[in-house]
Every structure is written in structure tokens, then in C-alpha cells.
Symmetry: C3
Subunit: 271 residues, 3 copies
């Protein structure tokens, strides 16, 4: 179990968007419990109800924060139902989220994981709605945790927390790495689940280094290091800042030009 004391920093990752009062109300609830808190928005633009998007986004950001940071993730299609609320101590960080798999990527990364159900109602808002546990349960739990309340005080430790399948790239015969697009970023860059480690494994397994990339109808042969190396209008591949292979077109929205969205298969075919 983590022994790092919680920081007064709380990050927010939600699918609430920017046009409603939802995220603001959560911050108000938290400041009412701990006026010293500071907030960092990771994003409020997770695709509505999309647990996979939330899992990847959380994974891309959480480790860059100071030890003790409390990461609050509210993508919660099951709000009001029997799904549990959880507090997870994972390595140097704390996570507060619904028990619906949004923390799966973190659970896969971190070795030192303890998870507690959040069931102690004295840490809830006085009146709990059936539709906004972000404000009524998750936010107050995060704020109370930041004041030094022990994780075990929120509820019993559990081990059957939910995990969702986050698709991994696979090495397939004959000599193909098979993956998929897991994210399209603001620039229209398409991020796959193929890692540098997958390329290394392929090299070791098949003794080959040369491949072409197949994505929809495009065949991509240029592997570059940074965006400015790309030739105008030509789709290129590079390893992005989270360690995943991504497909880009120089200063253009590759996803629109190639007509690709999240879930599309991508294959590295070794020659």
C-alpha cells in the first residue's frame, strides 16, 4: 500500500465537456472541504461514456505529476446503479473513480496497487443525487483524502475491481504486427497501440527490420523521428511522446485525409 502522503493537487479527467457547470461544481465541493486544493484539468472532453478513451488518457498523463497527486476520473455511464466507487493507491499516486475499468491501464502499469471501495457515507455530500456522483461522492472523497484521511477509512479493501480489455498489438504469422488506432489527437494525428517494444520483439523473433504499414487504404513506408521531417501530403509514421506508433501528415489532419477513426486496424507487414 502506498505510503506517500496525498498532495494538495487534484487532476480532473471527465467527459463533462466545457459548456456545463458540472466540473465547476465538483471543484466547489472540493474547495469547501479543503480550501488549499489546486486543480489541473487533464481534459473534460473524453468521448461521452468512453471508458477506453478515459483509460488511455489517464495513462498518458498521470505519471508526470508529483508523488501524492490525486487523480479524479469521472466517466461514469453507470452512475446511480450498483457499480462501486473506488479509491486506488497505485505506486506514487491516488486515483478516485467509478469501478468500471477506467483505471485498467494504471492497474496494468503499476505493481503496487491497493484498492478500496468508497462506501463510508460520512465522506459523501450530505444529499447524494442518483445522476451526479462526480459532485456528490467522487469529489468529496478526493477532497477528504487530500486532508489526510486514511484510504482504509473510506471502505473495505477489494481485489475484484473491474478491468476492461485494452487491446494490445500482436505479433502474428506470417510476420505481421497487428494493432489498432486508439486515439486521434487534436492535430488529427492517429495514435496506434503499437509500441517500440513490439518492433523490437518483431526484430528479435523474425530477424527483420523492414516493413510497410497498412492503414485503411494507405500504404505507409516513411518512418520518421519528428513531425517536421514529413514530406508534404505524404502519410508518415513516427513514435509519439507516449511511446506509441502514430500516423501523421505534415501540418494536416491525417485522420480526415485518410478517413480513419478510432478502432481502425493497422498492420505492420514485414518484408
Amino acid at each position: 500500500m502506498s505510503l506517500i502522503p496525498p498532495a494538495s493537487i487534484i487532476t480532473l479527467t471527465t467527459d463533462f465537456g466545457a459548456s456545463d457547470h458540472y466540473a465547476g461544481a465538483m471543484c466547489g465541493v472540493m474547495l469547501s472541504i479543503n480550501p488549499q486544493l489546486r486543480f489541473v484539468d487533464i481534459t473534460h472532453q473524453i468521448n461521452s461514456y468512453d471508458l477506453t478513451d478515459a483509460a488511455y488518457t489517464t495513462d498518458a498523463a498521470y505519471r508526470y505529476f508529483p508523488a501524492g497527486t490525486i487523480h479524479l476520473i469521472v466517466v461514469d455511464p453507470g452512475v446511480g446503479s450498483g457499480r462501486r466507487a473506488i479509491l486506488a493507491c497505485c505506486g506514487n499516486y491516488y486515483f478516485i473513480a467509478p469501478d468500471n475499468g477506467v483505471l485498467s491501464a494504471v492497474f496494468m502499469q503499476e505493481e503496487d496497487v491497493s484498492v478500496f471501495e468508497i462506501s463510508e457515507t460520512k465522506y459523501f455530500l450530505q444529499q447524494v443525487s442518483a445522476t451526479f456522483h462526480g459532485r456528490d461522492i467522487f469529489a468529496p472523497a478526493a477532497a477528504w483524502l487530500s486532508t489526510g484521511i486514511e484510504p482504509a477509512s473510506f471502505g473495505k479493501q477489494i481485489t475484484d475491481y473491474k478491468l476492461i480489455d485494452l487491446p494490445q498489438a500482436q505479433l502474428k504469422e506470417p510476420d505481421i504486427i497487428s494493432g489498432q488506432i486508439i486515439k486521434v489527437d487534436k492535430f488529427g494525428n492517429m495514435i496506434s497501440n503499437i509500441t517500440y517494444q513490439d518492433i523490437e520483439s518483431a526484430k528479435k523473433k523474425w530477424g527483420k527490420q523492414k516493413f510497410i504499414i497498412e492503414l485503411g487504404e494507405a500504404k505507409i513506408t516513411n518512418l520518421i523521428q519528428y513531425y517536421a521531417q514529413a514530406k508534404d501530403k505524404q502519410p508518415c509514421a513516427l513514435f509519439g511522446s507516449s511511446g506509441y506508433l502514430e500516423i501523421v501528415i505534415k501540418q494536416q489532419r491525417a485522420c480526415d485525409i485518410l478517413g480513419i477513426s478510432v478502432g481502425q486496424h493497422i498492420r505492420l507487414i514485414y518484408l
Copy 2:
């Protein structure tokens, strides 16, 4: 008059959007006056010039903040004209806004209300533009207030502050509750102005509990408690986190599917 000392927390509710420097410049002005301030965005996506939207959004968020919080609302189509700037002490909170009715919902909620005109130019930015009082008047007033300047120092107390009509649901013969859609949220959920109290009043008045909901061409008979209870593709009704009846479709944008926007009439027809 409120005796709660102002907190160093300022919330922002504007129609400035996220692509311009407007909100950032306001924060800069405030930090120049009080470097200890912390900001919470409620939203900058109020529909342009929409006082009703601003009034509802402010109402949904303000009470979740610590006592003494200063709520800054800048939706200001009359900027530069004769409309006044006001500082309102309402219960445990302070509000800084143009005197155009954006605080109407707060004025209706709170019993203890004192309103002051903001006219003392020494609390303005040195040069006041005719088009951006958010930066030049409202932001500096909020920041000076946070430093402990008395509300009465900003200008004379007034009682003729502006109120706008926020439509209330009505019980009509024969046995109908008549309301309207006042907000569509990021998920496409359509929030009406019908409250749980309206349902209770109808029950008492007419001795009836069963109703069907008419919204545009849809007839809705399912009243559920939380989103996950909805059956796929079927419009349902529930009481949302602000206490209003809302119409939803499970994990879909009900507003798009039903073709409904803000202002649409909604009727509960008792059987």
C-alpha cells in the same frame, strides 16, 4: 448584508469561449491586484449574449463553493452602454456582474441580498475600454473585493437592480404541468424547468400521480431514477442533479434524436 469575509476563490462564468485571450486577461488583471487568488472556471461557453443561460448556470453551481467565494459572471451584451456594474452580497456568496439580470436566479433563491453599484473608478483598471468591462471593471472589482475592500466602498447601495423572467413551470387545468426545456447539456440530455416540487403540488391538487410526458412529437412514459436504467433507444425522464426533470436517451444525444432545443414546451399530462 453578508458578513462573511471574501475568500481568495473566484469563479468565472462567461460567454467568452476558449479560443480568445479574454478570460486569461481577466485572470491576469486579478492576479496583479491580489496574487493569492485562485480561479475556478464554471464555464466560458455560455451561449453568446444569453442572459437566461448564464442565470441558470450560475444557479446550478454557486452554492457548492465555500462561503465567501466571489462569483464573477460576465455575459454582457450591453457593455459600454449605460447599464450598471453591480456587486451583490447574497447569503454566503459575493457576485460581480453587469446589472442585466444574469443574477436573477440567485436573487430568487437567496433571502439576504444587498446590491451595490460598482462606480468607484479607483477600483477600475486605469484605462477603461468601451468593449471589455470584464477585464477593465468586473475583474478588478472582484480582485479588490477579495483583498477586503468593503462592498459599500464600490458605490451606493441599490434596490432597483434588474431582474429577468426565468420561466417557471405551471399547473394548468385540466391536470397538466406545463414547462419548457431550459438547457441541453453536453450529453444531449434535455433539462426542463419542471421540479420535483411541481410534481408534489400536482399530486396534492389533483390527487393524481400518473402522467405521460409530451415533448415535441415524443410521448414519454418511463420515469427512471438514473441513466443506466433507461432502455436502449427509448426516451426516458428522470430528476437530474439540479432537481429538474430531464429527458434522456441511454448513452445517446436525446436532443438530436428528438430534434429538440432550448425553449421547447414540455407537458406532463395527468391521466
Copy 3:
């Protein structure tokens, strides 16, 4: 060289959008170095790769912050290439940015400018990616600067920093001020690069005060002081909050109605 000590306030201006983890990860990196930091978003909605948009937006906001504020600007199409990272001390403010011209407007405004290359790798993140220097170089440099590290410690002083052409309005014969639209704001107001000073110069040079404005197919004759003075549906001109002439239509998106976008020529034709 600026002797103002750096504040614990960092502003962010990027083209990262709101849907990815990029800005959040930068804040995490900075808080890991200096947990006392507070952030103000200017905007993350700079048009992708648009150095001119970033230069104008930075210029419109930076001077409203307390002396010592560190302005972090990451619009960086050349990330990973040979382009330098710079730390600029300009008057009362610090700027951290790629050396690609995004600071051109600031360099034109401020008389007291010293610029340092950021090359000392001990102030970088331990592992530097080729695609996200915002997180790996610019953010840590800003945070280290905020802790009191001397600007000269980051690298050698340079004078050949890059400047981009920011188009200035011009007085042309016969009796025309020729400019262009440099920004369309959230309200659809079209901001030109024509300043009040340009109008004063024209008056002095040509002894004339009366002009009509030509923008696309529109001829505009109404010069007003604030938005509410505009007559319904009629395009009007006024001097906006940053001192530039802008073309507006009362409570409507003038850019859409007139079919105008950034770069469009605008002419004041003196009569």
C-alpha cells in the same frame, strides 16, 4: 536584462486543444519541479501550427499579468528539428517558447529584451521525446526558472532569435489605409490590424477624417463606440479592447454573415 524575480504564475498559450492530455501533462511536469506554481490558461485553441495567431494572442494578454509572470507559449511545428528553445526576458515578463517567431509581437513592443537559448539539458525532463518538447523542455524550463534559476544558466545569450512578419496597416496614396483581418473572435467579431494611431496619422497626413470601410463586398460607414450602439443587422466598426479596429454586427457572427476570414484585406477609403 530584467531584474524582476519570477512569479509563481505561469500562463499557457498552445495549439493543443482541450481534448488531449498534452496541457495537463505539462502542468504535471511543472508541479513536480515547483509544487507552488499556479497556472492560467490564455488559450489552448490557437489554430494548429499558426505562429501569427499565437503572436497576436500572446500580445493581447501578456501585459495584464503581474510583473515576473512566466508566459509559456507552445505552438511548435518544428518540434524535434534544429529550431532552438528560448527564454526571453522582456520588460517585466519572462517568456519560454520555441525560437520560431511566436514572440515577435512582444519583441516589437518591449525595449528591454534579453534572449537566452535553452540548451542546458539538466533543466530538461530526463527523457526528451522528439515530438513533445512542451512537456520535455519548455515546461521544465519554465518551472526551473520559477524556482529562481538565473536565465543565463539555461544557455548562452543570443541576438539572432527569429522574427516573423506581423503585417502592419499602411497609409497608401490616394488616401487609403490598407490593412487586414488578423483575428476572428468567439463572437464572430473581425479584428483588423488597423490601430487608432493609424487613423490619427491619416488625419495629420491628409487632413481628412471621413472614410468608408471596404471589407470584402461590404461597405461600412458606421463607426461606433460599443457593441450595443450597433443597429440590428448592420455591419459597424469600432475600436476594440486591444486597440484595433474591428467589424461587428450586433449580437450576430459578422464573419459568417459577411463571409470573411483571417487574412482578408480591409481598406479605409478617405472621402
